[in-house]
């Protein structure tokens, strides 16, 4: 029982990590209709920016805000400079470009900051909280809380602001949106900027747990993809639920199913992707895209 509870708690906290990156993936998918493979590496890179600011003597919160602003500019700028010229290119070309960005960010971070791990400060208290036989790490709780908070903000933004409505409209039907006066390409850039900010916050929350290094997000991205697929790429809430489910599922199969054990934990994530795509391609909470012809 004790092991079970401890594994569920540990699964929730790693699930929080997956959920936060899955959220950024889904956000960019919702606002541009594109899957961004460089999402994790952009988050890692902006976390390094925050690290540089902290090293330059900034306080935690100024560095936090600074990193978010940098992330927004980075996402926005990338869309304008790299993605925009390929607007009419097939989707495959865009996928290749984002994979290219992935390797570029990874190598540049390694080149500038080296591959040695760096401790990253946490805004939450360090002392573990003991509840009965359970030990809760405030940083883990923080990751979960911040992810849920971001989810709420994104929901509010998309459903109760004019800008959010405009962004949703652009993805649904770019031509009609342009006809009613929405500046389509700016909306796409805005989507990139916002997803980068969500990624940056995720990076800042994850780095204290896994330590900052250029490959910090490499493994996370695979699980984030599995989470987003499980929850549904068209549903932000689904992706977050998917993240938590992935985290717990991975721990419990690793602990209790001896056939899986710890040696096949990653395989569980990949099996989830394949199974969901075979059985329910839209994910648990996703809507099928229906188009009137």
């Amino acid at each position: 029982m004790q092991t079970f509870v401890a594994q569920v708690i540990s699964g929730l906290s790693t699930g929080g990590i997956y959920a936060s990156i899955a959220l950024a993936l889904v956000l960019i998918y919702q606002s541009t209709g594109l899957v961004n493979f460089a999402q994790g590496e952009m988050a890692m890179f902006t976390t390094y920016m925050a690290w540089s600011m902290l090293n330059a003597g900034w306080g935690y919160w100024p560095a936090f805000v600074g990193a978010c602003l940098f992330a927004f500019a980075l996402g926005f700028g990338l869309e304008r400079l790299v993605i925009r010229p390929l607007e009419t290119a097939p989707e495959l070309a865009l996928v290749i470009v984002t994979i290219g960005l992935l390797t570029i960010f990874n190598s540049v971070a390694g080149w500038i900051y080296t591959y040695t791990i760096k401790p990253f400060p946490s805004p939450f208290p360090a002392a573990p909280i003991k509840v009965g036989f359970m030990v809760l790490n405030p940083q883990d709780l923080g990751v979960v809380g911040v992810t849920l908070l971001m989810l709420a903000l994104i929901y509010l933004f998309f459903h109760s602001t004019r800008l959010g409505l405009a962004m949703r409209a652009v993805v649904e039907n770019p031509v009609s949106s342009r006809l009613v006066g929405i500046r389509v390409s700016w909306m796409l850039a805005l989507g990139w900027g916002m997803a980068a900010v969500v990624g940056a916050v995720a990076g800042l929350m994850v780095a204290p747990l896994v330590f900052l290094e250029p490959n910090m997000m490499g493994g996370v991205l695979i699980y984030a993809f599995a989470s987003a697929t499980l929850g549904g790429f068209s549903s932000a809430g689904g992706a977050v639920v998917g993240g938590f489910v992935m985290g717990i599922l991975e721990n419990l199969t690793g602990t209790y199913i001896t056939l899986v054990g710890t040696k096949l934990k990653l395989t569980v994530a990949l099996a989830v992707i394949v199974l969901v795509l075979l059985i329910k391609p839209t994910g648990l909470f996703g809507r099928a895209a229906v188009r009137r012809v």
Binding site: Y115, I117, K263
Partner: protein
């Protein structure tokens, strides 16, 4: 008839003499393989000066500086200057192959000294043995390099992961009678090598003390789940075979959830600055690891003449390098072993003879190895260093304790 017979005999005798003379010429040629002239010995190398493993690059820079010192102070080896050609492979096996072919086929080096990295050496293993070029003192801890029958041109240098694992096992058997052992290892050859040596060292009875084994993949973001399982298994001894990032996580997580086993940390991750500091020095207190080199920053060696000489060498020949970085000690000590082999090969610098000398090192003393450690090989045992001493982290630095452990023999198949 008789005359004819005699003349035939004479002819045969003459032919034999001629053949023998020819053979003699061939032997004289063999004594001077490629890469050797009257004034030079050309040595090649590949190492990661860029990319994710570039921190290791300094090892070969220290070695290069040592060869420079030998050239400057002793005029080289037996009158021949060492020409050291080292290429960057970025720790990428395909580039190792490319650069090694360049060394062998275009630069015509005599041998490949200290190519670095297990995957990189694996990639050129067959090539070197097919071309019969010594791949001498490969810098990796894998235990597969001492195979004189199957791969007679490849030899390691440092203690293998298996030897190190065995040292921990011997200590546990002797000093922790009620040990319940939990193991965490990386699910690849590196992790399995350590565990193999560890189990061999425990023996059949000792192996029953293992209560849980957990593995991880490098793609996993955290190993929290494994640490939780190990804690709940009731283990009071933790054998931790992880690379730096996961070692930091393991140390911190165990401390956070209140698990305080006797924690044996593989030497791969024993760096104070890169692993223990990020994990927290308080959480790192009491860690045990094994080592075989003198650490120049350890006050124990403050007045040690060998360490002083090493520090002076660093200052003069490699001023950009940090003497406290044990990687530089590694490069210095291994280059010294290389020079010993070249010296004792004398004027017969054929590749075959060099391997003969390398496989008959009679227990030589290399100054920057811990006192008592000897570099020893026999034609059947191709593992030069098989001794190590344990050290414990006291919250500030590693402190050596106990006797020297000898794991020789364990690597032989």
């Amino acid at each position: 008839m008789n005359v004819a017979h005699t003349s035939k005999k004479l002819l045969a005798a003459a032919l034999t003499v001629a053949l023998m003379a020819g053979g003699g010429v061939a032997a004289a040629w063999a004594a001077q393989d490629e890469g050797v002239t009257a004034s030079e010995i050309k040595i090649g190398n590949t190492a990661p000066y860029s990319g994710p493993a570039s921190a290791y690059g300094t090892i070969l820079k220290a070695s290069a500086a040592y060869f420079k010192k030998i050239n400057a102070e002793q005029g080289g080896v037996n009158g021949r200057k060492i020409v050291f050609i080292s290429y960057d492979d970025g720790y990428s096996p395909p580039r190792t192959v490319e650069m090694t072919r360049k060394l062998v086929e275009q630069d015509h080096v005599l041998l490949d000294y200290g190519p670095l990295g297990t995957p990189c050496n694996s990639a050129i293993w067959a090539y070197m043995n097919r071309h019969k070029v010594p791949q001498l003192f490969v810098f990796t801890g894998a235990s597969k390099w001492g195979d004189p029958k199957g791969h007679p041109w490849t030899m390691g240098w440092q203690p293998t992961y298996s030897s190190e694992g065995m040292v921990y096992a011997r200590y546990i058997l002797k000093n922790i009678p009620n040990a319940k052992i939990g193991i965490l290892y990386q699910n690849d050859d590196y992790g399995k090598d350590y565990v193999r040596g560890f189990k061999l060292g425990l023996g059949a009875a000792g192996r029953k003390r293992i209560v849980m084994e957990q593995t991880y993949e490098t793609t996993e973001p955290t190993i929290d789940s494994q640490i939780v399982n190990l804690k709940n298994s009731g283990a009071n001894v933790f054998f931790d075979v992880t690379i730096p990032k996961f070692a930091s996580q393991a140390i911190r997580k165990a401390y956070e959830i209140g698990w305080h086993p006797v924690h044996f940390l593989n030497n791969v991750s024993a760096s104070t600055s890169a692993v223990l500091k990020p994990a927290g020095l308080e959480a790192s207190k009491g860690l045990i690891t094994a080592y075989y080199l003198k650490d120049a920053s350890d006050p124990t060696w403050k007045d040690d003449p060998d360490t002083k000489e090493y520090v002076a060498f660093m200052k003069k020949y490699y001023p950009q390098g940090n003497p406290d970085d044990t990687f530089n000690v590694f490069g210095y000590a291994s280059a010294e072993t290389m020079v010993w082999v070249l010296k004792h090969a004398g004027n017969d610098l054929s590749r075959k003879h060099i391997m003969e000398v390398a496989s008959n090192m009679p227990g030589i003393r290399i100054p920057m190895l811990l006192p008592g450690i000897r570099v020893r090989t026999t034609p059947a045992d191709w593992y030069p260093i098989e001794q190590a001493q344990l050290e414990r982290f006291d919250g500030r630095r590693w402190v050596l304790f106990g006797r020297l452990y000898d794991a020789s023999g364990m690597n032989r198949r």
